[in-house]
Symmetry: C2
Amino acid sequence: MTLTTTSYAILGQLALQPWTMYDLAAQMRRNVTFFFPRAESQVYAEPKRLVERGLATADTEATGKRARTVYSITEAGRAELARWLAEPATKPPQLEFEGLLRVMFAPYGRDEDLARTLDQVRDDIGGMLDTANRIRDEYLEGRAPFQRHVVHRAIMHDFLSSFADLVDEWAERSAARIAKWPEQSDEERLADALEVVRRKPRRTRRRPKQA
Amino acid sequence: MTLTTTSYAILGQLALQPWTMYDLAAQMRRNVTFFFPRAESQVYAEPKRLVERGLATADTEATGKRARTVYSITEAGRAELARWLAEPATKPPQLEFEGLLRVMFAPYGRDEDLARTLDQVRDDIGGMLDTANRIRDEYLEGRAPFQRHVVHRAIMHDFLSSFADLVDEWAERSAARIAKWPEQSDEERLADALEVVRRKPRRTRRRPKQA
DNA sequence: TCTATATACTCCATTTCGGAGTATGGCATT
DNA sequence: AATGCCATACTCCGAAATGGAGTATATAGA
């Protein structure tokens, strides 16, 4: 099979430095997972494919009796990464948000279920908020693991922290609104809802779609 | 096997009205795909499982020689949906954003690749922006397909249009910043990056994590 | 010394994806 | 009246990916 986006995700990490898959898996679980989640089994499987194609090399070291494999990128690997970076992305930004599905079907459940769903969303996004704040501090204090790439990482961080903020703010304001439902009339609830829909200044597609 | 979140996504749609899978697949491709994307083959496969479990019924109609199957929810299906709505979500909001991976590895490519990536992000999010604006107009003019659920749909719409705006705004401001790189010194670029990281008022986790 | 946790992976059944394939209906064009 | 094309209405299947469970050694603390 041909290389997948996951392959390039790993190849790119190897461009930064050599890694054991254990460390890389841990690293991805802490950061990359927030914008490109992969199963751990995949993280372990990919570098073997990279080695097969000559894009990486594997070196076996030992700590006592336990072996560990350190993977490094090759020149061919760097060239392939550069080639990939010049290609267009294969997929648009995608969201997978079970909580929104629950909001969609909320008319068939109880209002307190919806309140709990929104509450859980705030808990769930907490980890991302924490991570974003930790990374922010690391860069500002100049002690981030890849401080040399701060110019690019700042762009990433801008997106991820904006996203986490959005989710948290949305859940907060929505919870505040549904908390008022019990003492509101149907008309008031309706007016509130339309106000929410209306409020935003609509941002439109930059370029009209071509025929 | 047990029902998956995808099963409930379909079950919820059937609670709204009976559907043929063709119409439902088209409907999901237009809306649900933005926050819970599934392969079309899955959308066709799910209702058969629902029928097996007595949560839906299938009625075969005919248009000339061509058969079509209309699926409807049963009382047991409505009960199961209500039960599911009271459960906590199985997954946090998840993002899958190849473009951010390209930003992360941008130091190994050319600046113009990065510019093109951000440009493509804006094109890619255009569809979502269009859809959000169309839905907004439908609700404000009172002609949305599920106008009766506007109180809940407003919450969904708030999130989706905020998300699309975020992506578009982020890509726009990031592209504007990298456009200035050629005439900036390393120090200026660095100062700009740190400014981006610093700027945001940091939103923190609502409840401290429990030990 | 014992135990728990961290390191360092492998394996695999089940699910999902994504694209190709099949066939009819209905409308517009020639 | 025949033709072509797009919409309707699905089925099928190989190739990935997921999400645990399982194995074994190292190390730090009680």
